[in-house]
């Protein structure tokens, strides 16, 4: 009767439990409590939300362990934290703190412009961003147990999240319609391992849970992403950069569960006050686009 920790099933299973839920960015214990009270399934502990990282510039890194521990102590739901792409020591530090999930995130400044973290080497599970199917499968091949479409973080503009969800979904549907002898070339084109490509072609879905992120700011945005096939939603700056975070957070939770019911989404959208101001992704100069980080 031996106990095995950190198995694929345990890591991917954890993400299955988050399905249909909203994961919210928080920067302190107070916000974490608000998120939990609003019905968040998990919180992402970080020092600055993406909108502030964008506004303030500079190098964005892993958060202070003290701050992460304060958040862990304040809520009973899972606590996630971000490490820089390729920064496996930040990831080891986060694992030692007992965070429940690590986001190897393009929102932070990458530490390695060629390699991502070897995620098989960890007990804690990882979520990684992707803009297309090939990128998602490369991350899964490196050990990611959950994928989120990247969108464009810190903008409040949902168009990139939409584009990435359409792209990932479209590429999966394309694989499903292929003859088996065409999958070798498909794998080459996707720059992804053949075994994973074949698995996706057969099952018609990613082998791990797919959330969406980046630019979601309203209950209708959250419902839109669910309608596009997301298993759940990350909301970063959208909540605590808005006029009434507690109410907006609860509204997004409702809309995520009842995304098929426009009346519920309508009710959730009433009287929320100001949404985050937002930036049009089209106005962002290419070097400032976070979604392009990751390889």
């Amino acid at each position: 009767m031996s106990e095995v920790k950190g198995t694929g099933r345990v890591k991917r299973g954890m993400a299955e439990m988050l399905k249909g839920g909203v994961i919210m960015d928080v920067v302190n214990a107070e916000q974490a409590k608000i998120a939990e009270d609003a019905g968040a399934v998990a919180v992402m502990a970080l020092e600055r939300v993406p909108a502030d990282i964008r506004a303030q510039g500079g190098v964005a890194r892993m958060s202070d362990p003290d701050m992460i521990e304060k958040i862990q102590a304040s809520v009973s739901i899972p606590v996630m934290a971000k490490a820089r792409i390729g920064h496996f020591v930040e990831a080891k530090v986060l694992q030692s703190l007992g965070v429940d999930y690590i986001d190897e995130s393009e929102v932070l400044t990458p530490a390695d412009y060629e390699n991502h973290i070897d995620k098989w080497d960890f007990t804690v599970p990882f979520v990684c961003g992707a803009t297309n199917l090939g990128e998602a499968l490369r991350r899964i091949n490196e050990g990611a147990a959950m994928i989120r479409s990247k969108g464009e973080a810190g903008t409040g503009d949902v168009s990139n999240a939409m584009q990435h969800m359409r792209k990932i979904g479209g590429e999966i549907r394309r694989l499903s319609s292929m003859r088996e002898d065409e999958l070798y070339v498909a794998a080459k084109e996707l720059q992804a391992p053949y075994e994973l490509v074949k698995e996706v072609a057969q099952s018609g879905k990613l082998p791990v849970v797919l959330f969406t992120a980046g630019g979601i700011a309203t209950p209708a945005d959250a419902a839109l992403m669910m309608a596009m096939g997301a298993d759940g939603v990350f909301i970063g700056s959208g909540i605590f950069k808005s006029g009434n975070p507690a109410q907006r957070a609860a509204a997004c939770v409702k809309a995520t569960t009842f995304w098929q019911d426009a009346k519920v989404v309508a009710d959730a959208s009433r009287g929320l006050g100001e949404a985050m101001v937002g930036i049009n992704v089209a106005d962002l100069p290419a070097p400032h686009r976070l979604a392009d980080r990751g390889w």
Binding site: E3, M17, K254
Partner: protein, 198 residues
């Protein structure tokens, strides 16, 4: 028999597949009208705080509580176990449960995600075969009341318990291809309970 899966949040899809494998055609339950259609209910894994809260917001909390009290058979895994417990420890302040099972459950008792694990344990359904048990930030049962049968334990803590109409596990059989526990719920808990009502 019509079986529903409470589909507000969590691993609904996995429970639906497991029930289909047992020859059941389950429906997803989010509203009171859907609850009224089912004879038995499954509470999935997920975040117990979120599920309880959404149940309240959408007016299904009290109806579920009443149905449980009136003898509706229910199976809950992990978060579902917490939701069925009369008492919970390490809860969020003011966290509510449907209750019905006279047990005290400690949330996240096995630790954080880095402590999550899988193992093989024995399950007291008459078979001596071990069952694959996946524990994810799992709760355990700290105290059982009268009328509760312990079906499986881990380090002397009960991790599967039942009453006449309710079944709860700390672990997630829905994440494995072995549907023994779902079958046990249908055959040994739900069917006899519903027979009695008739």
């Amino acid at each position: 028999m019509k079986v529903g899966v409470l589909s507000l949040q969590g691993d609904v899809r996995e429970h639906v597949s497991a029930l289909i494998a047992c020859g059941i055609d389950p429906i997803e339950v989010r509203r009171e009208s859907e609850l009224a259609e089912v004879d038995a209910l499954v509470l999935p894994g997920g975040e117990s705080t979120t599920i309880a809260q959404l149940s309240e917001i959408f007016g299904i909390f009290e109806p579920i509580k009443k149905r449980i009290a009136a003898g509706m058979p229910v199976y809950g895994s992990c978060a579902g176990m917490i939701l069925l417990a009369d008492q919970i420890l390490d809860a969020k302040q003011g966290q509510k449960t449907f209750g019905g099972l006279d047990i005290t459950v400690r949330r996240n008792a096995f630790g954080r995600q880095v402590d999550s694990f899988e193992t093989d344990i024995s399950f007291d359904d008459g078979s001596s075969d071990l069952i694959k048990a996946v524990f994810i930030r799992a709760p355990w049962v700290e105290k059982v009341g009268a009328g509760i049968t312990v079906l499986a334990s881990m380090d002397s803590h009960p991790v599967a318990v039942r009453s006449a109409t309710l079944l709860a596990t700390s672990f997630h059989p829905e994440l494995t291809a072995d549907h023994r526990i779902h079958r046990y719920f249908i055959e040994e808990v739900a069917k006899p309970a519903l027979e009695k009502v008739k």
